[in-house]
Amino acid sequence: MKELVGNLAAHFNQWITVFLMVSGLYIVIARGNMIKKLIGLSLFQTSVYLLYISPGKILGGTAPILEDGVSVYANPLPHVLILTAIVVGVATLALGLALVVRINEAYGTIEEDEIFERDTRG
């Protein structure tokens, strides 16, 4: 039990990361509303940012912008990777929402269950 508490403290941010990730994933799989699914998807993607960024931090360091008199900086590489990931995430969201708009026009609904129903009927 004591070990667990110690672990919880040492890895608190990572535990939260896992919680965020899984919540996003749960929304995507469990929900039938297409917009909600996409929001869940971007939640899922966003949580990955912490997985990359938090190991790059060094306690007592600063942002990786070089200055005189500072010697400890955070690792810049994860930041660059996540910048790219953010862009990919918003690009996916934009395309997904465009599809939702077209689906709504074609079917009159954005609930997956209703769409399947309408497809099997007609």
């Binding site: 912008i65 934009a94 708009v101 026009e105």
Partner: protein
């Protein structure tokens, strides 16, 4: 209507500031947080705000659709062409070292032009998507 007047005048004050901020973020990326992507988002948002206040028609006169849609691939083209310049000046693709007399300056130039390409694509994509969604309307 009064509210509208206030909005328009405030917008006249704010929009140039936003553009200026975009330019600042673009060029200050070497020394502080920021760069082509963030600046492009701000610039794109400026155009969208303009459209929200002054109407879609007026905006499409200032920023025509055809121009916006041509700028999307042009930004990427600027980026990729800079890379090809590296290739033509004797280095590998995206090697900026030989773009200027000494390597450090070459790198600075390369990064500068490349960030400009990112800026163009990001800003124009945002505006183009906004135009497309706004042109769709509620049914």
């Amino acid at each position: 209507m009064r509210l509208d007047v206030i909005l328009r005048i405030t917008a006249k004050l704010i929009l140039p500031m936003m553009l200026l901020f975009a330019v600042y973020v673009q060029f200050h990326g070497d020394y502080g947080p920021g760069g082509g992507f963030q600046a492009g988002v701000i610039a794109g948002a400026t155009v969208i705000l303009y459209a929200l206040i002054y109407g879609l028609g007026a905006t499409m006169v200032v920023v025509p659709v055809a121009v916006v849609e041509a700028l999307i691939p042009l930004g990427v083209l600027v980026y990729a062409a800079t890379g090809v310049m590296g290739l033509l000046t004797g280095g590998n693709f995206l090697d900026y070292s030989h773009l200027a007399d000494d390597e450090v300056h070459g790198q600075e130039w390369g990064v500068f032009v490349v960030e400009l390409g990112v800026f163009v694509t990001v800003a124009s994509t945002m505006v183009a998507i906004f135009y497309a969604v706004a042109g769709r309307g509620r049914r």
